[in-house]
Amino acid sequence: MEKYRLDPTKGLEFGLYTLGDHLPDPHTGKKISAEQRIHEIIKLAQLAEQAGIDFFSVGESHQDYFVTQAHAVVLSAIAQATKKIKLSSSSTIISTSDPVRVYENFATIDLISKGRVEIVAGRASRIGLFDLLGYDIRDYEALFEEKFDLLLQINDSEQVNWEGEFRAPLKNASVLPRPLNGSMPIWRAVGGSPASAIKAGYAGVPIYLAHLGGPATSFKQSIDAYRGALKQSGYNPTDFPVATAGFFYAAETTQQALRDMYPHINEGMKLTNGQGFPKQHFAQGAHEHNVMNIGSPQQIIEKILYQHELFGHQRYIGQMDFGGMPFDKLKKNIEIIGTEILPAIKKHTARK
């Protein structure tokens, strides 16, 4: 776990992630400026740090209603504005980027932040960026596997000799600068099916699982398959952390939390995904065994502890700013996390 800068004896890490969506507030129909949204994201990271939150990450998405296409640039500003919170992408679309460039960017942010940066590399859930950046989506799988593998090689050694299909070969190439401690944690972003988690297990890399909704037990299948694949490849599963990510929102009561968040998720999904979030599914999100962490602080604490027991994961990352959620509501949530949720989670998951 040290390789991934994680100390499980301190308990489950708690983080926040933003996809950098730039959507109107469904109650007012108004959208804040891109400038304001980016500054609010930076401020959110600062507040998260002050509240004792362990981790903050920013996603890359190249489509309408998003503002953090240049997510590494935003992370760089956050690195300068904070001192101790861990920072990451969530995720970097490695398929349509040059791994050398990505590494240079993130190693630089690691130096700016004094060793706090990680990379979560993903395949893109939407593929408009393939056209935008000049790639063929028929190479969707192959592009990711090849480029992710190169990214790992660059992380493992300063001198790289490499040949592949989608990029010019590298001969004794030095990829510089190096991160503060020589290398950085690199995670594989994993979506719905266990197939991607299994590939991560064969490759011996940690996984970052996105969980939008549904029973927590069904996500355990991916985690079990991942650990099985690790073992099969001769790795020790206890050396590799698992992170889970999904919707988070706390309010005084669970009903209030559902009421506050639903319009943002539903209207936001309509604009970015073409279909809203069915109310019936969202209502089930309040169930203690549903993976969505939406509810009263006590309800959320119980849910996260249940998930921790089930998954044995090392980090949970919540998304609470989707769909034009007003900044004062985000601030209130950070306060609740810092004063009520974090202390309880750490108390129950830290190994004494």
């Binding site: 593929i127 408009g128 056209d131 989506i137 009903q255 073409g274 279909q275």
Partner: protein, 188 residues
């Protein structure tokens, strides 16, 4: 309420004739319903390459958006080689898995002979069910002898189309009411 008719083939005239008449009945009887007929013969639609439907432009993007915004679909299809045509399946392949959730879907089937009566039951209904449609269970099936000079000449078919249109509108209203009542009970 928005109801979209789809004429699912690029070949032949029976499905186009049947759908033209179906939409005519709909407009005559339900002037408050917003209607549109998509005849796939009028569009160039590539095979699905797996991208999200919002990422398509031109004809494809336009058709997919119209379908997604509809409250109900009336799908017209011929039977080719004992199945629905690829042009129609291609539309389903472009859409998300839950695309038909909260939509009512009814079917108008044309075929060369009565021997293909169960194709809709065995091939189209499973796709609609998988995509979460509320299916109007009874569909209209018509064959070669029901047409003459691109007109429907069988009164039985005419009456069945009228009933299908009525059932489609009634079920769409009913389902919307049921859903609204149910959702109001969640209290958020």
């Amino acid at each position: 309420m928005k109801i979209v008719g789809i004429s699912g083939s690029r070949i032949g005239t029976k499905t186009k004739t049947a759908m033209g008449y179906t939409l005519h009945v709909l407009k005559e009887n339900y002037s408050e319903v917003e209607t549109k007929l998509i005849d796939l013969a009028d569009y160039e639609i590539p095979f699905s390459d797996g991208r999200h439907y919002l990422e398509y432009e031109g004809d494809t993007g336009e058709i997919l958006q119209v379908i997604m915004e509809a409250d109900a679909l009336i799908i017209g299809t011929p039977i080719f080689q004992a199945s629905i045509p690829a042009s129609l399946k291609n539309i389903f392949d472009h859409l998300p898995v839950n695309a038909l959730q909260d939509k009512v879907v009814s079917m108008v089937i044309t075929a060369g002979s009565a021997k293909h009566y169960l194709i809709a039951e065995q091939q189209l209904k499973p796709i609609l069910g998988y995509m979460k449609a509320q299916i109007v269970q009874t569909y209209v099936f018509m064959e070669e002898k029901d047409f003459y000079n691109q007109q429907i000449i069988n009164d039985d078919v005419v009456f069945r189309i009228e009933r299908l249109v009525e059932d489609t509108v009634t079920l769409t209203e009913t389902y919307a009411n049921i859903r609204q009542t149910k959702e109001a009970k969640y209290g958020f």
